[in-house]
């Protein structure tokens, strides 16, 4: 009887040991970063190596596995979509918790009203680059806004009412403001932004940055119109669309998307 009892105890102990073997946990990859490839299209992920024994890492895009690697680092070559990435470590059938997510999804700001330079309303617009990257309107008559404004609207003529007549609106780099015939932009360290010609496919990657594809202003001559931009200081690409120009009060609607990864030209949304 004593032998049977001892055997039962030993069996239970062994069963416990074996059972606990499947519950091994892995550390999730940490410090994941996302950068743009030199072509402005590839997405490069990097993270700290997991120090414990693992077989490798699994890379996910929009919650679907898209590849595995044995060392830290992965390049998603020529993606056509934007979205969220995360990584897990794995050992055999065991997988760690996911890393924090990083994203290429453009930050969208819904349409807001903006005004031609001499009309009675804000003509400047800028993105909260140090925060949530949403856009807001600002006055171009206050030099204190020179660090906040990324573009403004002008018809490049000094008219007291504002409005598109007799000229189209333009999306202008703030750095052009002090030269504007409107004559209301004070001296300041206004930022520089470059603009594409009108974009025909608002889901396609933006043009490669060059002196023949980005300019100091672009005319808003059709309704609606899509115009890409490049922020000179930080290297962010993005897309604007304008519609509903109003000659009576000098207003127009603007909606924007900005790519949160510097240097990445993907703007699909």
């Amino acid at each position: 009887m004593k032998k049977l009892f001892a055997l039962t105890i030993v069996s239970l102990f062994l069963l416990t040991i074996v059972g606990c073997g499947d519950e091994t946990t892995l550390t999730a990859p940490a410090n994941i970063t996302i950068t743009a490839g030199t072509d402005g299209i590839d997405v490069i992920l990097d993270w700290d190596e997991v120090t414990e024994e693992i077989d490798g890492y699994i890379i996910y895009f929009e919650s679907a596995a898209i590849g595995t690697v044995t060392t830290a680092g992965y390049t998603d070559a020529d993606p056509t979509e934007t979205g969220d990435y995360f990584v897990t470590a794995y050992l055999g059938d065991t997988e760690s918790d996911p890393s924090t997510s990083v994203t290429t999804t453009p930050v969208h700001t819904a349409a807001v009203t903006i005004y031609e330079l001499e009309a009675s309303g804000n003509s400047g617009y800028g993105w909260d680059l140090a925060g949530d990257m949403t856009g807001s309107t600002y006055s171009m008559t206050d030099a204190a806004n020179d660090v906040l404004v990324d573009f403004y609207i002008s018809n490049w003529i000094n008219d007291p009412v504002g409005g598109p007549w007799p000229l189209n609106y333009r999306i202008e780099s703030p750095s052009e403001g002090t030269s504007d015939p409107g004559g209301v932009v004070p001296a300041g360290n206004w930022r520089t932004t470059w603009f594409t010609d009108p974009i025909t496919d608002p889901q396609a990657p933006l043009p490669t940055y060059s002196s023949t594809t980005y300019f100091n202003y672009t005319e808003i001559d059709v309704d609606p119109i899509y115009i890409g931009f490049y922020l000179d200081d930080e290297g962010y690409f993005g897309l604007t669309t304008f519609s509903g120009a109003n000659a009576a009060d000098g207003s127009i609607q603007v909606e924007t998307w900005i790519q949160p990864v510097p240097g990445l030209r993907l703007i699909a949304h």
């Binding site: 490049w156 003529i157 007799p166 000229l167 333009r170 052009e176 030269s179 015939p181 470059w194 940055y209 060059s210 002196s211 023949t212 594809t213 980005y214 300019f215 100091n216 202003y217 490049y230 000179d232």
Partner: protein
């Protein structure tokens, strides 16, 4: 014979009476009157030609004006051009 003589006298009398010009007319149109009349006719012809020429000019002017009106109002003068802004490429 006497009857014959009377008849001859009667015929001569009728001839003389019948050949007399109508009362108030001295006989035919003088060259001077004809020339005057001709001059008046020529003057009237010249006047008529002038009227025709004036009418042609009037019709021409009317058609030109009509063509302008049919094309619409004359264009409004353009506002003064704003100063040009050079479109610079990115750095």
């Amino acid at each position: 014979m006497r009857k014959m003589a009377l008849l001859l006298v009667a015929v001569v009398a009728v001839m003389i009476i019948g050949c007399q010009p109508p009362e108030g007319m001295t006989g035919g149109v003088s060259q001077e009157a004809f020339d005057t009349l001709k001059m008046q006719v020529e003057t009237m012809q010249t006047d008529l030609d002038n009227v025709h020429a004036a009418l042609d000019q009037l019709i021409e002017d009317y058609n030109a004006l009509k063509a302008k009106v049919d094309k619409g109002a004359a264009p409004v003068p353009k506002p003064p051009a704003p100063p040009e802004q050079p479109r610079k490429g990115a750095k």
